[in-house]
């Protein structure tokens, strides 16, 4: 019988913003604990929120073995890591002052907008430990600015969002990052017409949904994935490599998963040079479906972890956006409600888009658009490339560039 304990402690201070002003301060400190007991090819689980007696929790997990939930491989073994991202975060008064240092200039310089929603400073510590040599700890601090912007008088409930993520608060830097877009708001895009266009996404944006749902080991193994019949075949551009990253040196991600698996190579290509290579799988799924275990076990602590794609982005094909664009292009700033079907046909409504120059600077704001294409072509013949350059100082995403049909 083996025992495994997973703990997730989250502490946060969150400033609520209404009408461009600090409206509230919320503090949270939550500890969630899960105990897993492995015995005879089965696993039992019990979990709790708040301070808890881990021995009692383990006893409850032992009782849950009676449900006979299969777990062929048992626990991960002999693997350790300790990773920390970020440092101390402001609390209380200091946090309010920092947020006000961002809001005050926004109100003054861009008074045509109403700013709302929140700014959150969060500290997270995740540990996975068991009695067969697994000892993993990941601690991270992050400030997340998620301000909804609404143009005064607009009939919309929101017109866009200011999103910044960083290890520490930097009001001046964040203001510099978002200002060009707010300054360009009133500028209408000149020379734009519906038709075929080069389209720039921040990361994969809404295009990633199908990759996340179809690049799962269990779906590929059972033939349920739209990519199952194409496993091992080149169906995308040979310049398209899709990476699931647990590389803590590059991104704010834990290098281990919730089964305590540490990859030998943290950057895992699910699609490599256009070839569908493998899907994300937990150790339990790997044993059951006969696929490689990829260190992708995740999920709520209340449940047993299952395979899911994590930090996903295409491998870079160019240094900067200027290397990929030969003229103005569409930047998708905010889109919601799009989808791709099983044949790969994509429909993507864009609520906020920009006409940008080769350096990614705004030339003018676009009307609402509908984009269409096919996933195989978008990352096949219509794939322009992905940058090494990040979309901004406060967003850990590359520019992803494709050709799409644009309808007004």
């Amino acid at each position: 019988m083996n025992r495994e304990i997973v703990r997730l402690r989250t502490s946060s201070s969150s400033i609520g913003v209404a009408d461009g002003h600090v409206a509230s301060l919320r503090t949270k400190d939550t500890l969630e604990t899960a105990a897993r007991i492995y015995d005879g090819g089965y696993v039992g689980i019990a979990s709790a929120v708040g301070p808890t007696d881990e021995d009692a929790l383990a006893r409850a997990a032992t009782e849950a073995l009676a449900l006979q939930i299969p777990h062929g491989p048992g626990p991960a073994r002999d693997s350790t890591s300790d990773t920390t991202h970020g440092g101390a975060l402001p609390e209380g008064d200091a946090m309010v002052a920092e947020v006000e240092a961002l809001l005050a200039p926004l109100r003054k310089r861009f008074p045509t907008f109403v700013y709302s929603n929140r700014v959150t400073a969060q500290k997270t510590e995740l540990t996975v430990e068991n009695d067969v040599g697994v000892r993993h700890r990941y601690a991270a601090t992050e400030v997340g600015v998620g301000l909804v912007i609404k143009e005064r008088g607009s009939p919309n409930i929101m017109d866009g969002a200011l999103v910044c993520e960083a290890e520490a608060f930097d009001a001046a830097g964040m203001l510099d990052d978002v200002s060009p877009w707010l300054e360009a708001w009133e500028r209408k895009a000149e020379g734009f017409a519906a038709g075929r266009h080069t389209v720039v996404f921040r990361g994969l944006s809404e295009l990633d949904g199908r990759f996340r749902s179809e690049l799962l080991g269990r779906r590929l193994a059972t033939g349920a994935s739209m990519f199952a019949a194409k496993l091992g075949e080149r169906v995308f551009s040979d310049r398209f490599t899709l990476i699931d990253s647990r590389n803590a040196a590059k991104h704010r991600v834990a290098p281990f998963d919730l089964e305590g698996t540490l990859r030998s190579d943290p950057d895992l290509a699910l699609i490599e040079s256009g070839v569908v290579k493998l899907g994300a799988a937990s150790r339990r799924e790997a044993a059951r479906y006969g696929v490689p275990a990829t260190g992708n076990a995740t999920g709520p602590l209340q449940a047993l972890p299952a395979g899911a794609v994590g930090h996903l982005e295409p491998a870079p094909t160019a240094s900067s956006l200027a290397d990929l664009l030969d003229g103005p292009a569409i930047l998708v700033d905010f889109s919601a409600g799009g989808d791709a079907n099983e044949t790969g046909e994509v429909g993507l409504p864009v609520q906020l888009g920009w006409w940008i120059d080769r350096q990614g600077r705004p030339l003018g704001r676009l009307p609402q658009l509908m984009l269409s294409g096919n996933l195989y072509r978008l990352f096949g013949e219509d794939y322009v490339g992905t940058t090494r350059e990040r979309v901004g100082r406060f967003r850990d995403e590359p520019f992803v560039v494709v050709k799409m049909d644009v309808h007004g």
């Binding site: 509230s24 939930i69 607009s154 009939p155 409930i157 349920a224 409600g337 989808d339 609402q368």
Partner: protein, 448 residues
């Protein structure tokens, strides 16, 4: 369902929302038990109104609440602001109890019974076309108590139970993923909804085998009741949430009560008193729910409020302040939102369509000034009859234009009460809600 008493600090408004949640989750995937867990969590959310702003805290340490409230009342983190809305006067101090428990309390039912419920339908998946499937059972029993410094004391208890079945079909080069789900307020009623699973799968098989792509363009569209509900929720419900209007008097003018916003046959309401996942007889500020007409006969009739938005906008309040759980503050949210039925039969709604599209089920929807719905099952309508299946990625259109193009409503209301998923707003997802409507005909929508 006992929660400790609270000593409220003097000189400030404060309230405490206790919550005890017992939930069960069972997952079976491809015939093998994947997960079976039960958990009970107890916590509280604390609010102190001081100097025109809110201090919030959540905790699982129920013994520390009075001390924490006192500390929050002493806090100087948020300097006072002038001209803040008088929230306290909006809050009526109800003393009430509401216990809506149908059948056995779900947390008292052995987990083996819940596993057996799913296992009883596993044979349905023994079909050559089914490549992979996953079934989930979920139940939640919530006991809540709301107390405030004004003397409110509202206790309520409610439960929901439901199931969801996802399945991936494949035949030749054709694949199709679909899902079925059902839910209610008792464990005992789930067997009836699960009995529909075989016909649901057969229907999806037919769709997979025969569905062809559709040329994009404007079409007459009939929405099935659950899709009409998503449309009402996304296209108009969120726009009725008054917190989106704070700080923008122009928007209030744009959305003045009495303004025509849709077809004269269109009425939309939100009602927290209806049974199901949206049941909220008292909201998370302790306010008693009632039906709020958002649109009546095509005219804007009301909006959804918390105490703060009602005070800030000077409007009579609705009772729609809800929080996802005890770790979040309440914000303006929907409960059960629906398009009111009309006077036509279902057959009459379809018979008016010579060439159009019937959206039977959808995956998701979203709505700003443009709404989108991603259909799963869609069918061509020819000569007033449902014909061949068609693959549709998205239907979309201008909310305001589309609401004016509704020209047919059937005469029966159907509410969708699934307990998996819910409504997302900013950081709070999923909040249990319900939605529905009749069969709704729209003379033109963009089908992409």
């Amino acid at each position: 369902m006992e929660f400790p008493e609270v000593d409220f600090p003097d000189g400030v408004y404060a309230d405490v929302r206790y919550e005890r949640v017992a939930s069960t989750m069972v997952t079976i995937r491809d015939g093998s038990l994947e997960d079976a867990t039960a958990r009970s969590t107890t916590g509280a959310f604390l609010r102190v109104r001081k100097g025109g702003r809110w201090l919030y805290a959540s905790t699982t340490d129920l013994g520390s609440i009075s001390a924490r409230l006192a500390a929050m009342a002493r806090s100087t983190a948020l300097p006072a602001v002038k001209g803040a809305p008088d929230v306290e006067s909006q809050l009526v101090a109800h003393k009430a109890q509401d216990r809506r428990i149908e059948g056995r309390v779900v947390s008292s039912i052995p987990i083996a019974e819940k596993i057996d419920l799913l296992r009883s339908q596993m044979g349905v998946m023994q079909r050559p076309t089914v490549r992979s499937w996953g079934a989930i059972f979920l139940d939640t029993h919530r006991a809540r108590r709301f107390v405030s410094s004004k003397g409110a004391d509202v206790r309520r208890e409610h439960q929901v139970a439901g199931w969801g079945w996802q399945f991936a079909l494949a035949e030749g080069t054709r694949t199709w993923s679909d899902r079925a789900e059902g839910g209610g307020e008792s464990f005992e009623e789930l067997a009836a909804s699960l009995a529909r699973l075989p016909s649901h799968v057969e229907h999806s098989e037919e769709f997979m085998r025969h569905a062809e792509a559709l040329e994009p363009g404007p079409r007459t569209v009939v929405l099935a009741p659950p899709v009409a509900g998503v449309f009402a929720h996304e296209s108009f419900g969120h726009k009725s949430e008054a917190d989106f209007m704070l700080g923008d008097p122009n928007m209030l003018e744009e959305w003045r009560i009495g303004k025509p916003v849709g077809s004269p046959i269109l009425s939309i309401a939100d009602d927290g008193t209806l049974p199901g996942p949206g049941y909220t007889p008292y909201d998370d500020e302790g306010q008693r729910a009632e039906r709020t007409w958002l649109v009546k006969d095509g005219q804007l009739m009301g909006r959804l409020h918390s105490a703060e938005t009602a005070a800030a906008l000077g409007e009579s309040r609705s009772r729609n302040a809800r929080a996802m759980d005890f770790t979040f503050e309440p914000m303006v949210r929907m409960t059960t939102t629906f398009i009111a039925p009309g006077s036509s039969t279902k057959e009459e709604v379809f018979s008016g369509v010579d060439d159009g599209i019937f959206i039977e089920r959808c995956r998701h929807g979203s709505g700003m000034s443009t709404f989108t719905i991603a259909p799963s099952l869609a069918w061509r309508i020819r000569g007033g009859k449902i014909a061949e299946p068609v693959r549709v990625n998205v239907i979309t259109g201008s909310v305001f234009e589309t609401l004016g193009l509704i020209d047919g409503l059937s005469d029966e209301l159907e509410l969708h009460r699934a307990v998996l998923g819910g409504c997302g707003k900013m950081e709070q997802y999923p909040l249990p809600v319900a939605f529905g409507g009749p069969y709704v005909r729209v003379s033109r929508m963009m089908v992409a």
